[in-house]
């Protein structure tokens, strides 16, 4: 009876609670503001600065580019600057085939590396997810363990393994599998090895979390309905782990495109990747505006397709509901 009365007319208690509810909603919003502020200060503002530099010209000065779009001459000066804006650096990027090739090679190398990482990482994640629950935390720990050592040192270590007189060649020569040392270092193969090794945890972790969540009785049900284990994997396990596959691939692909350390240390001088090109422009040529333009284009190349992809995914999810 009291329930009916309470719903029929707003009770005094509910009315009194309204300001508290508004305050609570404000606090909830506040919590969201923190990460947005973080992104504003450490991503958006630096990006705007980089974009601004990309519109200027190199100069022998400190910093090494001509000032562009600033308020030194007041607001009118700023608008005068806007009218004089030119995208010469971007046109330059289209004129020299070097940049286009570097972008394309980077995307191809990152793509192949991502697929290789997926092929190596999936069985690892699968094995972990199906391991007895008691040893799963240990396995997880082992995947994260390499992070305890510096990334640079780990990539350096690969030079020792891959060089002609390195550990790998010595081992293969000693076992008699090869008679001539393999040339791996300073080739694209070395880059693939380096990227797969370095980014494997970023692939394994999201895959593991999606595989571990999966109800194993689904696989049993598929087998019960006459599907052999390999079929059950491709029809049930793999489709259900796709969110993990996508997350893992993005986490590997995006940093791999701009990767600089691995191609520089393992790929030798003749490999062409956009990260290295950017580094050369910035440190060797001291051409800040062009390297900024390279960075802006790289960001667009990566974010625009991913944004479309995520939008499509969100739409698909919406339809599924």
């Amino acid at each position: 009876m009291t329930n009916i009365a309470a719903t029929a007319a707003p009770s005094p208690a509910a009315a009194a609670a309204l300001p508290t509810r508004l305050a609570k909603r404000f606090v909830d919003r506040l919590v969201i503001i923190v990460p947005y502020l973080w992104l504003l200060f450490f991503f958006l503002i630096p990006f705007i600065i980089v974009f601004k530099i990309s519109l200027s010209q190199t100069a022998i000065s400190m910093p090494p580019y001509t000032p562009v779009l600033d308020f030194r001459d007041g607001v009118s000066g700023f608008f005068a600057g806007v009218r004089e804006l030119n995208f010469d650096n971007y046109t330059w990027l289209t004129q020299d085939a070097l940049y286009f090739n570097a972008y394309v090679t980077s995307l191809i190398i990152a793509g192949i590396s991502t697929i290789l990482t997926l092929i190596v990482g999936y069985p690892i994640a699968y094995g972990m997810a199906r391991a007895p629950a008691t040893i799963r935390p240990t396995l997880l720990m082992l995947v994260i363990l390499p992070f305890w050592t510096s990334f640079l040192i780990r990539v350096y270590a690969w030079i020792g393994i891959l060089k002609p007189e390195g550990l790998l060649n010595q081992l293969l020569l000693a076992t008699g599998l090869i008679s001539q040392p393999l040339v791996i270092l300073n080739t694209y193969t070395a880059i693939f090895i380096g990227i797969v090794y370095s980014y494997l945890p970023f692939m394994v972790l999201p895959l593991y979390s999606s595989l571990e969540k999966m109800d194993y009785s689904l696989v049993e049900a598929a087998q019960d309905l006459g599907c052999p284990p390999t079929g059950a994997f491709w029809k049930i396990t793999f489709p259900l782990s796709l969110p993990g596959v996508v997350a893992g691939c993005l986490l590997v692909f995006i940093p791999a495109v701009g990767e600089f350390v691995i191609p520089d240390l393992l790929g030798g001088s003749q490999t062409l990747m956009i990260g290295k090109t950017l580094w050369n422009e910035f440190f060797s040529n001291r051409d800040w505006p062009v390297s900024s333009a390279v960075a802006v284009i790289l960001l667009l190349v990566l974010t625009v397709p991913i944004m479309f992809f995520q939008q499509a995914q969100a739409r698909a999810q919406e339809q599924g509901k």
């Binding site: 109800d215 049993e220 019960d224 309905l225 599907c227 052999p228 489709p239 259900l240």
Partner: protein, 379 residues
């Protein structure tokens, strides 16, 4: 032994010595490390039977079902299906299908794709698949939900999809693991009858695992009561209830009063029992009890009559005091504390609106029962 009342269909291959068993567990043992889940168990199930495995959790009933489906191999012993030894046959080649407790519906497929899954594996032509799927959807009354995904369905609808999927291939045997466990009480009762109708209609052999005795009693032709990896008794629901063969079964199914005692005298058709606390009980059916042996006399509450005066013609009548009365509407449950200290539970149907012989707390009362009302248990 007198035949126990049964209202079931005229179907009792287990009483026919010439009937061929369909599923046979032959001295099956299953160990997980040191733990013995199923211990040297033998069991026979007949074609078209609705067979229930009933027991508390951890009694080995699910392991038994999983061995039949092929997800576990027995550590020792054989399982035969229609004369064929199932050892080494993987689950995807066994002519049995299972309905999982969690339903295990494929979340990324629509209802019709879920139902068609097993048929596609069989290599059935597409037009036949469509026909069979439509037929199954009609059977479980989900025609308008064909294009939905499992998460867009209610619990009861999901249960019916799982059922349709598991019978779509027309398996020789359908295994059901707690099929109604996730449904609420009212839906569960309706679905019990639907399952029974479906089994009749399709003429399949059903093996159902459950911990709910009411569910097993309602649906099954025969029930196997399991405890610690062993079968305690296999019998029809009526036999399980009226003629349990052990204290465990008597206790496990329904309510029961147990009198500890010793057989004082044993003749051809009467057994006189002296209760541990002095009560004298005479029964018709002494079972395997021999004179002088320690036994338990078990009697169901509804077989006991409670009255304020000693009934003149009663063979067994014990005096005590009303300790508790619980009025449940359709019946009244009395707890009588006998003068020797034993507590007796008796229930009386409230067949009329006014009780002629009202009893209340602390009244003197007599409990009486017929010589054939209970059973003598030796183990």
């Amino acid at each position: 032994m007198k035949s126990l009342g049964s209202i079931r269909r005229d179907f009792a291959p287990w009483n026919d010595p010439s009937a061929k068993p369909y599923i046979q567990f032959d001295k099956v043992t299953k160990k997980f490390g040191d733990f013995t889940a199923v211990n040297n168990l033998s069991l026979t199930i007949f074609e078209r039977e609705f067979f229930a495995l009933l027991g508390a959790s951890g009694c080995g009933k699910s392991t038994l079902l999983r061995m039949l489906a092929g997800f576990e191999e027995p550590s020792a012993g054989r399982i035969l299906l229609d004369g064929q030894d199932l050892r080494g046959i993987p689950p995807y080649k066994r002519p049995v299908n299972m309905m999982f407790q969690s339903y295990a519906l494929f979340p990324h497929m629509t209802v019709e794709k879920n139902i068609a899954f097993g048929l596609k594996q069989e290599g059935m032509p597409g037009s036949d698949i469509d026909k069979r799927v439509a037929e199954m959807l009609k059977l479980v009354k989900l025609e308008q939900f064909a294009k939905r995904k499992p998460h867009q369905l209610s619990g009861g609808q999901r249960q019916r999809v799982a059922l349709a999927r598991s019978v779509a291939k027309r398996p020789k045997v359908l295994l059901l693991d707690e099929p109604l466990g996730a449904l609420d009480k009212k839906l569960r009762e309706e679905t019990q009858f639907e399952l029974m109708d479906l089994q009749q209609e399709l003429g399949l052999t059903f093996v159902v695992v459950t911990h709910d005795q009411e569910e097993a009693m309602t649906m099954a032709d025969r029930i196997a009561i399991m405890d610690k990896g062993e079968v305690m008794q296999v019998a029809t629901p009526a036999e399980i209830y009226e003629a349990p063969t052990s204290r465990f079964v008597a206790h496990f199914v329904g309510n029961v009063n147990m009198f500890e005692g010793r057989v004082a005298e044993r003749t051809a058709d009467t057994t006189r029992i002296t209760g541990a606390t002095g009560a004298q009980i005479v029964v018709d059916n002494g079972g395997a009890a021999t004179a002088g042996s320690d036994i338990v006399f078990a009697i169901r509450p509804e077989k006991i009559k409670v009255s304020s005066k000693k009934p003149a013609d009663a063979v067994n009548a014990l005096e005590g005091e009303v300790y508790d009365v619980a009025y449940l509407g359709d019946m009244t449950v009395y707890h009588i504390k006998l003068d020797d200290g034993q507590m007796v539970r008796a229930s009386a149907m409230n067949a009329s609106r006014v009780t002629e012989d009202p009893l209340t707390w602390n009244d003197r009362a007599w409990v009486s029962f017929r010589p054939d009302a209970g059973v003598v248990l030796t183990r």
